[in-house]
Symmetry: C2
Subunit: 362 residues, 2 copies
């Protein structure tokens, strides 16, 4: 998407034809800094230190990490070593494993001298495919948005609430939940986005606000507490979020707090959509609340908040008294009964076993 009128992806091959450029997302929204990756170790660090985040982008970065690693040596041992090290950067990231496995499956059967070129080609393909999938999600979502906009009589603005960041920064391009928003904006629908701050890491305030602002989409930051009130007062026409893992029955494991917004949407008859690419569906799991283990992350994410200090530097402040402790549950599960529909690259389905199975022919 655009940054002040210039088209960007979240990761791209540099003009030198071999090094890889990413946006350092830990500096956003206060500084737009492009980082160059020249070694697999730098790619691993970019993932583990969350310079890049979001399942598809992590996968793409790992794929390019393999490329950078193969520039030194292309033998099996080295390929396996760097694969393992890259996987270890975010052990629970499904896309990361998937991308590394796709690279290995392609590269291991090849002669060593053919591996580097094939790796770069495959990494580029992984990026292009992700952008295409997300663009398709956007197209299908746009149809949903159009219907809601028409039902509203095309008056005022189309008010959309989103949680966390499921935008182009989390993917290679377009994003998932934000993709239909960009498509709607580009199509001339006067969208306005309520952006949940998304504590503890504030991806809404830091990333979604930045993304939308840079592409010119009207938006307002709200605290995570505010969405229910807005829905009670008719100020939200629909909600849309991403998902980290979707059950075969249509339940959604997404950033902590998603469930609360889905409850408010249901209580106020506001449609609640979830946008996802097929690979986030876990066909083995039906009951997400029961069967998806929820990551408990370090409590410093709760205790400290990062922002711009009075000197214009990025700094953290501690909000908790030193005598207290905190807990940091990273995700929650929204049961399928609260989800109006799932917007995928293959179309829109109801959030149910039947709906998903029909779309993915299982």
């Amino acid at each position: 998407m655009e940054v002040d009128g210039v088209p960007y992806r979240s990761i791209w091959l540099a003009d030198d034809g071999w090094s890889v450029d990413i946006i350092d997302q830990t500096r956003l929204p206060h500084e737009f800094r492009v980082e160059k990756l020249t070694t697999w170790q730098q790619a691993a660090h970019a993932i583990s230190a969350m310079l890049v985040r979001g399942a598809p982008l992590i996968g793409a970065t790992a794929a390019y990490g393999i490329c950078l690693g193969l520039r030194k040596k292309a033998d099996n041992d080295h390929l396996k070593t760097i694969s393992e090290k890259l996987i270890a950067t975010r052990p629970t990231a499904v896309n990361l494993r998937w991308a590394i496995r796709a690279m290995q499956d392609l590269l291991l059967p090849l002669p060593e001298n053919a591996r580097l070129a094939a790796a770069y080609e495959k990494a580029a393909q992984i990026c292009d495919e992700d952008a295409a999938i997300n663009s398709a999600i956007g197209d299908h979502g746009l149809e949903v948005f159009k219907r809601i906009w028409e039902a509203k009589g095309k008056t005022g603005r189309l008010n959309i609430l989103t949680h966390c960041n499921a935008g182009w920064l989390a993917t290679v391009d377009w994003g998932t939940a934000l993709s239909p928003i960009y498509k709607a904006h580009n199509a001339g629908i006067p969208v306005h986005v309520w952006v949940d701050e998304t504590r503890p890491r504030n991806q809404g305030a830091h990333l979604t606000c930045w993304e939308l602002g840079k592409h010119g989409v009207d938006h307002t930051l709200i605290v995570d507490n505010a969405g229910g009130h807005l829905m009670q007062h008719g100020l939200v026409d629909l909600c849309i979020t991403g998902t980290d893992r979707t059950t075969a029955a249509g339940g959604v494991c997404n950033k902590i707090g998603t469930y609360l917004k889905a409850l408010a949407a249901r209580d106020n008859n506001v449609p609640f959509y979830v946008a996802l690419p097929g690979p986030t569906i876990d066909w083995e799991i039906d009951n997400g609340v029961k069967d998806i283990p929820i990551e408990v992350r370090g409590s410093h994410e709760v205790d400290y908040i990062q922002g711009l200090n009075g000197e214009g530097e990025i700094a953290g402040v501690r909000i908790l008294p030193s005598s207290s402790r905190s807990a940091n549950y990273a995700f929650d599960v929204t049961p399928a009964r609260l989800v109006t529909g799932l917007i995928t690259e293959r179309g829109v389905s109801e959030a149910s076993k039947t709906g998903l199975a029909k779309l993915y022919q299982r």
Copy 2:
């Protein structure tokens, strides 16, 4: 309640017998600073700059503000002037108006030379009555807590979720929602409190955590997004919050985000109680969502977060990109249908017109 073993109220007459001491709540939790008020202007500033907050404490501070003002002059004009100035510090605070009116009703009929002593006596009475009301709320709430604790088989801990700060810092002593928690703790029930951070002003992280910690009550800070997940997993035995305004039908206008927790409680069969003193009931209003206007506060409260910086100083950081804007809805309304019961100084009632009318014999 206690601060490291020493009993405190949130406002008290100093040892000199005339000046008034308060705790500067803007410095909490990082610094425990007692401020001395010696003029009515200082009292007004303490209210407007939120050194003191919480309806009962604002009322008590205003009452003492009248006392301090009368030390200079006790004529009707002066009394009316300072009354108006004090009311103007927080124009929507009901308790503030009530306290000032109570002082005026008492003082205006008195001869000027009798007013000062009477004012101090009345201010002390307002404080004592608030503490007594809150203690009674705690006693009634304790009975509720005991029943839930017994139903749980007295195993593990009694896990309570609260939002914002309805503790002794918001009142003169005991607090409203936290009063039964202190009573339960003092009675030996092993309570553990999940404290919602309560963005944007973080009263949970800053004040509730501090209060509970200083009195020795076990607690854990969570982000506002986390409560639903905890309830889905049986980690919350009950919720309890305060209320700024209660409708005659039992609806509750409280800090933004309360409604979302009430929805989650209902969805998971977790009891959701609200603690309140009778005067917060607005007998004129039935439909709170429709008829209670919600204050929209300055957006700097959303854009900036205060905490302790790396140098150990209290500082703010900006979380929002400079190109974005925010909205700051301060309260929301939780419909009575989501409230399990109202805990008042007169006992516990169901959240309904009948329940409240019975308790208050209207």
